[in-house]
Symmetry: C2
Subunit: 340 residues, 2 copies
């Protein structure tokens, strides 16, 4: 595939114009708006090649060209430079995130900020349980046979579960349980807890074995099995801007549906193990319902560790350089905030 520099330049011009105008772009308009130094006829020849290679296509015979998913991919990989954020944007991010009172607030602010800046649908995953450590465990009696188990992690997240005990539990017993649990688990990463927790039952006093074992099974559930993560979502209304084109086709439904399925959204962050931004364009998405969209995602966390993912979902026709820069910047700031 002989794509010389000019052809690439033509592709870039097409992507940029199409993103800006949302209309198929023709050869004449291209040479007018960009200093390509050649005539429209030449551009047409280049376009024919680009189309043959699958980077652009015509919605109808004899109408302008539109980038394909493959075209966007090439654009993102080789043709776009990272667009640095304007100072105003940086300030906006800082001002918006500073003043968050707790973890919930940070996540909420981050997701709204992201939606606002990119004008797309934003998704932020709460700091993952499995990647953080236990800060404190608390047991609160609710009734004689019921305890409320509260776990606080070092990312500030709080999980609670009601535990139905096999029999009445004495206050001193609770104190003792609390002491043991905290002594064993505080400071331990959640991923590393299961073996320790198992050991608790074995080492328990005979008469406390039943109690401890009940507690432990719930604890395990909370710690590990229930890594059903939480998500925050914002900017859904931006979908309505996705272009009346797609809107009339009713293609909006499946996207909205996908956005409601937490399980689906979590998949977007499955592989974000680093702070590098990942871009999935159209067909590249594993989630079928999101094949009409592009997803820009990245991991975030204090320092170099990643405790969660965040990103945006938008039309394939999006301003990739700007969006990527924004997602990265917000992720970096949120990461800093988590490091207190």
């Amino acid at each position: 595939m002989g794509l010389d520099d000019r052809k690439l330049e033509v592709l870039r011009a097409i992507v940029e114009d199409y993103v800006a105008t949302q209309e198929p772009v023709g050869s004449k308009a291209l040479v007018e708006r960009h200093a390509l130094g050649v005539s429209s006829a030449t551009v047409r020849n280049d376009m024919a090649v680009l189309e043959e290679e699958g980077y652009i296509r015509q919605p109808h015979t004899s109408a302008g060209r539109v980038p394909t998913d493959r075209g966007y991919r090439l654009f993102v990989d080789r043709l776009s430079r990272v667009k640095p954020l304007s100072p105003a944007e940086r300030r906006a991010i800082e001002r918006f995130l500073v003043g968050a009172v707790d973890l919930d607030d940070v996540v909420h602010r981050a997701v709204r900020l992201l939606a606002q800046l990119t004008r797309q649908v934003a998704v932020v995953q709460y700091p993952s349980l499995t990647r953080s450590a236990v800060r404190h465990l608390e047991l609160v009696p609710v009734s004689t046979t019921r305890l409320l188990l509260v776990m606080i992690t070092d990312t500030g997240r709080v999980e609670q579960r009601v535990v139905e005990m096999p029999g009445p539990v004495e206050p001193e017993e609770i104190t003792e349980l609390r002491r043991t649990l905290n002594a064993t688990l505080v400071g331990v990463k959640l991923v590393d807890t299961p073996p320790l927790v198992q050991g608790l039952v074995e080492r328990a006093e005979p008469q406390a074995k039943a109690t401890m074992s009940t507690l432990v099974s719930v604890l395990l559930e909370t710690l590990v099995e229930r890594h059903e993560e939480r998500l925050a979502l914002a900017g859904t209304s931006n979908l309505a801007r996705m272009g009346p084109l797609d809107l009339t086709t009713g293609a909006l439904r499946p996207i909205l549906e996908a956005l409601e399925e937490e399980v689906i959204l979590l998949k977007l962050f499955d592989e974000v193990k680093s702070g590098a931004a990942r871009v999935r364009i159209g067909d590249e998405n594993e989630v079928v319902d999101l094949r009409a969209t592009s997803v820009v995602s990245t991991g975030y966390g204090p320092g170099a560790t990643v405790v969660g993912g965040m990103g945006i979902v938008g039309p394939t026709r999006m301003d990739y350089p700007g969006t990527i820069a924004t997602v990265r910047a917000v992720a970096r700031y949120v990461g800093e905030m988590l490091g207190h």
Copy 2:
């Protein structure tokens, strides 16, 4: 306004047909589908009157009639009988709600259930803080000068805040603070706490006054000022069904936007003080962006007390009897669950 029985019957038929078909209904179709016992000409005369009174209108001259907001209001108030839920629906509700592990889960399940059954957008308010009582307060040291304050309410809700202390705090001091706080506040309704909390500072030992006062100010914030309530939302994708009519006009945007504003949604539950369902049709909504929709809302809670609201937002063209019945039923079941 002389609306005799038959005219009311005609109105009901129009509402029912329009809701079912989503198309303006004409006089001929009406007499065919409903046993009105009169000719289409008579129905036309009745329609003319109904239109004059503002209950129905014609989208265009010489097209069928469509109910107005006023027409729906009359229908809801006087013409619709409550539609009892089918046993299948009852079972679905029970099965779906049973098995919820904690408060978060109950709310989540409830909102999804509601969205699914009504096929509209569902909103559930988390049990209000102000209307519940303190079950337990916990202080966890985070660093030498920072404490994590965790409050657990009797509805199972957990609130936490990091408190920046004026100086280092000793472990014994924390134990003492914890004891005092719990002794004073456990079992007290949140609304009644402020005076008690104030008293805490006054009665504190002189050397602990600074510490206590810092704690108290945060406590007050958490208890009262911050009654920014939380919400759960589901079924947004159902909006896409609101009819391609409204969809093409782009009227979807403002609705999606309104649904993203928690402040706006909370207004929907401002006045739900009882378990009775409230219906706001079109223009009756105070929220301007929701004037194109109808809102069915109700309060819920254990027994007769109301700790929160839930409801749905949908097109004015909705199945009111069915929707009202569903909302009420779900609210009742959730209320029961909260009573453990």
